[in-house]
C-alpha cells in the first residue's frame, strides 16, 4: 500500500469515527433535552401555579394516568407563588376538578408531578393557568411530631407512667419469684408434679373403672334381655306348656315311685324358679334396686364418662399451659 493510500485510509477511518461520535453526541443531546425523536409527539408548555413546590426541579417527570407524559421545563419564582412550566404531550386532557400535585418518588428522594384528569368540562392546556396543590412537607410533619413528643416528655406525664410501670413490674416480679419458689397453690401446681402424677393415676383408674363398668353394663344388658324374654307371656306359656307336657309324659312313664317323686320335685322347683324370675324381671323393669337402676337408667354411666372426659381435658390443658406459664415466669422475671 502506497503512502498516499495509507494516509487516505487513516483519514477515512478517522473521519468515520469522528462523524459517528458526533452524530451520537447530537442524538444524545437531543434526547436528554426531552425531545422525542422516535414517536414525534407534539408537546405543549403548560403553566401551573403553586404556593410552594416541595423540592421539584427542572426535568422532573410529569405523570398522567400512571404514565410519563412530559417533564418540568422550568420553574419561575414569583412574588408569592412558584410557577412551573411543564412540557407535556398535547394529548393530555385536563377537566374541571383536576388536581395537580407534587409527589415524592421514593424515600430516597426525587419528585414528580402527578396530573389527575377531573370530571367536568375540558380545559384548554395553553390558555389556562392551572393551580397546583401545595405538597405535603414530610420533614415538617416529622419535626412537629417530634416537638409534640418532647413537649409530652418534658411535662412529667411520661415519668409518672414509667414510675408506675416500674412499680408494677417489681410486683409482678415478686409474684413470679414466689411462684417459682413453689409458694402458694399456683406455685405448687407449677413446681410440684405430684398433682400431675396423681391425676394420671386417677385417670388410669377411672379408665379401668370405666372398662369394668362397661362389663357390668354388658351383664345388665344381658339380664335385661333375659328379663324381657321372661316378661314375654309367649315364652312363659311355652315353658309352662313344656313343663306340663313333661309332667304328663313323665306320669305316663313306667318308673319307680322314687324316681317319680324326684321328677315332681324338679317340676315344682322349676315352677318356683319361673315365678321368682318373673318377679325379678318385674322389679328390674320398674327400676327397683341398684341393678334395676343400672339397667334402666344410664345417667350414671354418662356422668362417669363425662367426668373422665373432663379430667382428661383438665390434664391436657395443664400440659399445654405449663410450658407457657414457665416461659412467662422466666421472661417476666428477667425484666
Amino acid at each position: 500500500m502506497s503512502r498516499s493510500k495509507a494516509s487516505g485510509f487513516s483519514d477515512l477511518v478517522t473521519g468515520v469515527f469522528m462523524l459517528s461520535v458526533l452524530a451520537l453526541l447530537g442524538y444524545f443531546t437531543i434526547v436528554i433535552s426531552g425531545i422525542d425523536l422516535i414517536t414525534g409527539k407534539e408537546k405543549v408548555d403548560v403553566r401551573v401555579v403553586f404556593d410552594q413546590v416541595g423540592g421539584l426541579k427542572d426535568h422532573d417527570n410529569v405523570m398522567y394516568r400512571g404514565t410519563k407524559v412530559g417533564t418540568v421545563d422550568r420553574i419561575v419564582l414569583g412574588d408569592r407563588e412558584v410557577t412551573v412550566i411543564m412540557n407535556i404531550d398535547k394529548d393530555v386532557i385536563l377537566r374541571e376538578g383536576y388536581t395537580i400535585r407534587v409527589q415524592s418518588m421514593s424515600l430516597l428522594g426525587g419528585n414528580l408531578m402527578v396530573l389527575e384528569e377531573g370530571e367536568g368540562l375540558v380545559l384548554d392546556l395553553l390558555s389556562t393557568d392551572f393551580k397546583g396543590q401545595t405538597p405535603t412537607d414530610w420533614m415538617k410533619d416529622v419535626q412537629d411530631i417530634t416537638a409534640n413528643l418532647n413537649k409530652i416528655t418534658s411535662s412529667g406525664e411520661i415519668e409518672a407512667t414509667i414510675s408506675n410501670l416500674k412499680s408494677a413490674t417489681e410486683k409482678v416480679n415478686n409474684v413470679i419469684a414466689k411462684v417459682e419458689s413453689g409458694e402458694g397453690t399456683v406455685g405448687k401446681l407449677i413446681q410440684d408434679d405430684s398433682v400431675y402424677e396423681d391425676l394420671k393415676v386417677t385417670v388410669a383408674n377411672a379408665r379401668e373403672v370405666t372398662d369394668e363398668f362397661k362389663g357390668v353394663r354388658t351383664v345388665i344388658e344381658n339380664v335385661t334381655q333375659i328379663t324381657e324374654k321372661l316378661k314375654d307371656d309367649k315364652y312363659y306359656d311355652e315353658l309352662e306348656k313344656g313343663l306340663t307336657a313333661f309332667r304328663t309324659a313323665f306320669e305316663h312313664l313306667d318308673m319307680g315311685e322314687d324316681l317319680k317323686a324326684s321328677a315332681n320335685e324338679v317340676v315344682v322347683k322349676a315352677n318356683d324358679l319361673l315365678g321368682t324370675l318373673n318377679n325379678v324381671a318385674a322389679r328390674l323393669e320398674q327400676g327397683e334396686g341398684t341393678l334395676g337402676k343400672l339397667a334402666t337408667d344410664d345417667t350414671m354411666y354418662n356422668e362417669i364418662n363425662a367426668l373422665i372426659r373432663d379430667m382428661r381435658q383438665v390434664i391436657d390443658n395443664y400440659r399445654d399451659t405449663t410450658p407457657i406459664s414457665t416461659f412467662g415466669s422466666l421472661a417476666t422475671g428477667a425484666l
Binding site: D11, T14, F17, L22, L24, T29, I32
Partner: protein
C-alpha cells in the same frame, strides 16, 4: 525557581500553540499532518480507551448495583452509572489513556528530535517548531479528547447495562431508560469541557516536556516520565476545579 521556570515555559508554549491553531488549515501539508495526528490520537488509542471505559462502567455498575440492591433500588442503577460517567469518569479515564498513550509518545518524539538537534534545524530553516510540530498534535488532542470522552461514556454505559442485566437482574432497556432520564445537558457539556481541558493540558505538557529535553537518551526517558506524571496530576486537579466551578 526551576519549577516556576518550567511553568512559565509551558505557559508560553501553550499560548503560542493555541494562537497558531488556525494555521493548521492554511496549507495542505498542515492539514495532512493534522489529519495524521487525529488518527494517531483518536483511532490508535481506541482499543485502550474501549477496554478501559468498558470495564470502568462494568465495575461501577457492579459496585453501585450491589449497594442499591440492599434498598431494592436497582432501578436507579442506570442513572447512577450514567451520572458518574458523564460528569467524571469518562473524561477522567479518557484523559489518563491519552496522557499515557499519546502524551508520552509526543514527549518522547519531540525529545528525541530535540536531542538530535532536529528542532534547531527547523529553527535554522525559519520553521516554527510550535507551528510545525506542536499545533497539529495539541489541536488533535483538543478535538479528539471530547469525542473520546463521550465514546467512553457510551461504552461505559453499555458495559454497566450488560453487568446490570446479567448479574443484577436489571433489564437492559430499563437500565438505558434510567440512564437517559437522569442525564442533563449541563452534565454532558461539563464532561465535554473537562475532556477538552484535559486534551489541551496533555498536549501542552507533552510538547513542553519534549521541547525541553536535555542530556540525550536519558533526558528523553525522563521527559516522557515527567510528562505522564505531570499530566496525571493536572488531570486530577483540573477535574476537581471544573467540578467545583460547575457544581456548587
Amino acid at each position: 525557581m526551576g519549577f516556576v521556570r518550567e511553568i512559565g515555559a509551558a505557559g508560553k508554549i501553550g499560548l503560542g500553540t493555541v494562537i497558531r491553531f488556525p494555521t493548521v488549515f492554511r496549507s495542505r501539508d498542515s492539514r495532512a499532518e493534522f489529519s495524521h495526528q487525529l488518527y494517531k490520537t483518536g483511532i490508535s488509542t481506541l482499543p485502550v480507551v474501549t477496554v478501559v471505559s468498558l470495564f470502568t462502567g462494568m465495575i461501577m455498575a457492579l459496585q453501585v448495583g450491589l449497594e442499591l440492591r440492599r434498598f431494592n433500588q436497582e432501578i436507579y442503577l442506570g442513572a447512577a452509572v450514567m451520572i458518574s460517567l458523564i460528569r467524571e469518569m469518562a473524561p477522567f479515564s479518557c484523559g489518563l489513556c491519552l496522557a499515557s498513550c499519546v502524551g508520552s509518545a509526543i514527549a518522547a518524539e519531540l525529545g528525541t528530535m530535540k536531542v538530535n538537534d532536529e528542532i534547531d534545524a527547523l529553527r535554522i530553516m525559519s520553521i516554527s517548531p510550535l507551528k510545525f510540530l506542536a499545533v497539529p498534535r495539541v489541536l488533535a488532542l483538543c478535538v479528539m479528547a471530547p469525542l473520546l470522552a463521550f465514546y467512553c461514556c457510551v461504552i461505559g454505559t453499555i458495559g454497566g447495562g450488560v453487568v446490570g442485566a446479567t448479574q443484577l437482574g436489571v433489564d437492559f432497556g430499563q437500565f438505558m431508560s434510567s440512564a437517559m432520564s437522569i442525564a442533563e445537558r449541563k452534565d454532558l457539556f461539563v464532561g465535554l469541557v473537562k475532556a477538552l481541558v484535559f486534551g489541551l493540558t496533555i498536549g501542552v505538557v507533552a510538547v513542553s516536556k519534549g521541547l525541553g529535553t536535555k542530556l540525550g537518551a536519558t533526558g528523553v526517558g525522563r521527559a516522557t516520565q515527567h510528562s505522564v506524571i505531570v499530566n496525571f496530576l493536572l488531570i486530577l486537579m483540573f477535574g476537581y476545579m471544573i467540578t467545583r466551578l460547575c457544581y456548587q
